[in-house]
Amino acid sequence: MSKEKKDREPLFSIKNRRLLTNPLNKDNPITVQVLGICSALAVTAKLKPSFVMTLSVIFVMAMANVVISLLRNGVPPRIRIIVQLVVIASLVIIVDQFLKAFVFDVSKQLSVFVGLIITNCIIMGRLEAFAMSNKPWPAFLDGVGNAMGYGWILIVVGFFRELFGSGTLWGYQVVPEGFYNFGYEDNGFFILPPMALILVGIIIWFQRAKNRDLIEES
C-alpha cells in the first residue's frame, strides 16, 4: 500500500510545476529556443488578435500533447510525424471553425495564421520531444506551459505595438486626444512586422540581463 502511494506523483509535484513554469522564462519557446517567430511577427499588430492567437495555440497544443501522449505506444515510429500532423490539423480546424463562428472579425484579421498553427514549430517540437515519451498529464502541463510561454510574448509585443502604432488598446482609444493636438502621432513603424522583431529582441535583452545563465559563452 505504502509502496503504491510512493509511486504515484501528486498532480502538481515540483517536477510537474516546472513543466508549466519553465517555458514561461528560462525555457521560453520564442526568446530562448527562437521557435514560432513567424506568427509572433505576423499577428501582433493589435492586442486582440494576439490574445486570440494565444488562446488558440494553448488549446491546440494542450490537446495535441494529450492525444499524442495517449497514442504514443500505438504509433509505429516510421509514421509518427504524419500521425502528429493529422492530430494537430484536426484540432486547428476545430479552432478555425470556432473562431469563424464566434469572433469573425478577429478570424479575418488572423487570416491564414490560424491555419498556419499546424506548421508552428513549437507544437511539433513539443510533440516530438515530450508527448511521445511522457504520460498524458505531464504532457498536458507541458503543452499549456509552452503555449503560455509563447503567448505572453505575443501579448506583450501586441500590447506595445497597438499602443504606439495605433494609439489604441483592444480597439479602444487610450492615447488622449490632447496628445494629437500637441503634435503627437502614431508611430507607423510599430505596425510593420520588423518592429515586432525588434520588440522580441528587447524582451530577450531584458531576459538575459536578468538571467545571467542564459547568456551563451562564446
Binding site: 503634435g183 508611430n187 507607423g188 513603424f189 510593420l192 520588423p194 525588434i198
Partner: protein
C-alpha cells in the same frame, strides 16, 4: 587654460576608485580627455604611436561636415523665402535657417549623448566619441520642418537599438545616423516623404514656378513635365550647387565635395569605397540608359550622382569605418553594391524615393559577410601557394 588644468587635477582624485564620485568616473574621464590630450600611453603589445586618437578622427569628420551644414542653414532660409515669394538679403536667410537647424542639432546631441553617458556609466566603460559624428549627421539628413520630438525619438532609437545593444561605438552593425533616418521614414512617413516637407514654413499656395518637390520626387512621379524639368540644364546646375528643396545637408554637391576633399586628404574616408560606389551607380545608370523603357530609366547616368542624397551618402555614410567592410577587396565589393542597389531602388521602387539610405543600410548588414569571404578566399589562395611550394620541394 592653466587654471582649467589645475582645476581638473584638483577634482580628479574624487572620481578615481574609492573617491566620492567614483560612479561618475566615465563622465569625468570623457570631459577631461575632451579638453586635454590624455597623458596615458598604451602599455601592452605593439601599437602605432600617433596623436590621431579617436577624438581627433571624429573631430575631423565633424569638420568635414561643416560645408554642407553651413550651406544647409542658408538653403533652408533661401527655400523658405523663395516659397513665400520674398527676396530678403543674405543674413535674414541665414538667420531663418539657423533658427530651424540649430534646435535639431541641439536635440540630436542632447538625446544621444545623454543615452551614451548613461550606458557608459552603467557599464563602467569610457564614454565613446562616436556620437560626435552621428549627432551631427542626424540633423543633416532631416527635412528642415521635422518636429523636434521626432528627432529625439529617432536619435534614442538609433543609439539604443542601432548601437548600444551591440556593445556601443565600434560594435554597431548599422550606421546610427541612417538608422535614425530610416526609423523616421517608416514611423512617420508623412513628415519624411512627399512634396510638402522639404521647405521650412511652406505656405499653402506656392508662387508660380516654385515647387516643393525634390528632384527624386519629380522623377518618381514619372510625369513627362517633371522629367523634362529635372533634365533642364538650369535645373541640373541647381542640383549641383544645391539651391533646391531637400534634407538639410544633402542638397549641395559642391559643399559635399569640399567635405570629401577633407576626408580624402586626411585619409579618414576610404577612397576605395567612394570610388567603387561611384562605379557601381554609374554602371547601373548605364544599364538603365541602355534599356530606356521608362522615363526614369532615361535619366542620364551622371545625373543620378547629383540627385537626392546620393552624394551625401557616398561621402559621409558609406565610408563610416565601423559599418563598412574592413578588408580592402571587401571595400570594393561593398561600395560597388551600394551604388548599384541605390540606383536600382530609386528607379524601380515607387514607395522609396531615396534608394541611397536603404542601399547603405542593406550593405551594412552584408559587410561582415563580405569580409568573411574575402578572408576565406585569401586563406585558400595562400594555402594553395604553400601546398604548391611543398609539392615542388619534393
Amino acid at each position: 587654460m592653466k587654471g582649467l588644468r589645475k582645476f581638473i587635477d584638483k577634482i580628479k582624485p574624487q572620481f578615481e576608485k574609492g573617491g566620492r564620485f567614483e560612479k561618475l568616473h566615465s563622465t569625468f574621464e570623457a570631459f577631461e580627455t575632451f579638453l586635454f590630450v590624455p597623458n596615458t600611453v598604451t602599455k601592452k603589445g605593439s601599437h602605432i604611436r600617433d596623436a590621431m586618437d579617436m577624438k581627433r578622427t571624429m573631430a575631423i569628420v565633424v569638420l568635414a561636415m561643416v560645408p554642407p551644414l553651413l550651406f544647409g542653414i542658408w538653403n533652408v532660409g533661401y527655400q523658405h523665402y523663395l516659397a513665400n515669394a520674398m527676396q530678403p538679403d543674405f543674413w535674414p536667410m541665414v538667420w531663418y535657417g539657423f533658427l530651424k537647424v540649430f534646435p535639431i542639432i541641439v536635440v540630436s546631441y542632447v538625446t544621444g549623448l545623454a543615452i551614451e553617458f548613461a550606458f557608459a556609466q552603467s557599464r563602467g566603460h569610457e564614454v565613446n566619441e562616436g556620437f560626435l559624428v552621428s549627432g551631427m549627421l542626424i540633423p543633416l539628413v532631416m527635412p528642415p520642418d521635422v518636429p523636434l520630438w521626432m528627432v529625439a525619438v529617432a536619435t534614442a532609437f538609433a543609439v539604443i537599438i542601432g548601437k548600444e545593444v551591440f556593445g556601443g561605438t565600434g560594435m554597431n552593425i548599422l550606421n546610427p545616423a541612417l538608422t535614425a533616418r530610416a526609423f523616421l521614414f517608416f514611423a512617420y512617413p508623412r513628415h519624411m516623404s512627399g512634396d510638402d516637407v522639404w521647405i521650412a514654413g511652406m505656405p499653402d499656395q506656392l508662387p508660380d514656378g516654385v515647387t516643393g518637390a525634390t528632384p527624386l520626387g519629380e522623377a518618381l512621379a514619372g510625369k513627362t513635365e517633371g522629367m523634362a524639368h529635372i533634365m533642364e540644364p538650369g535645373y541640373v546646375w541647381d542640383m549641383f550647387w544645391g539651391g533646391i528643396p531637400g534634407s538639410i545637408g544633402e542638397t549641395s554637391v559642391i559643399a559635399i565635395l569640399l567635405g570629401a576633399i577633407v576626408l580624402l586628404i586626411t585619409g579618414i574616408g576610404s577612397w576605395r569605397i567612394m570610388l567603387s560606389v561611384l562605379v557601381g551607380s554609374i554602371s547601373m545608370g548605364l544599364i538603365f540608359n541602355a534599356i530606356g523603357a521608362t522615363p526614369y530609366m532615361q535619366v542620364p547616368f551622371w545625373q543620378h550622382l547629383i540627385m537626392g542624397g546620393f552624394a551625401f551618402g557616398l561621402v559621409y555614410m558609406a565610408t563610416d569605418p565601423v559599418t563598412a567592410s574592413q578588408t580592402q577587396r571587401g571595400k570594393y565589393i561593398y561600395g560597388f553594391l551600394i551604388g548599384f542597389i541605390a540606383i536600382l531602388i530609386r528607379v524601380f521602387n515607387p514607395g522609396y524615393p531615396e534608394g541611397m539610405m536603404l542601399a547603405i543600410l542593406l550593405m551594412n548588414v552584408f559587410a561582415p559577410l563580405i569580409d568573411y569571404y574575402v578572408l576565406e578566399g585569401n586563406i585558400k589562395k595562400r594555402l594553395k601557394r604553400v601546398n604548391h611550394a611543398v609539392e615542388s620541394a619534393k
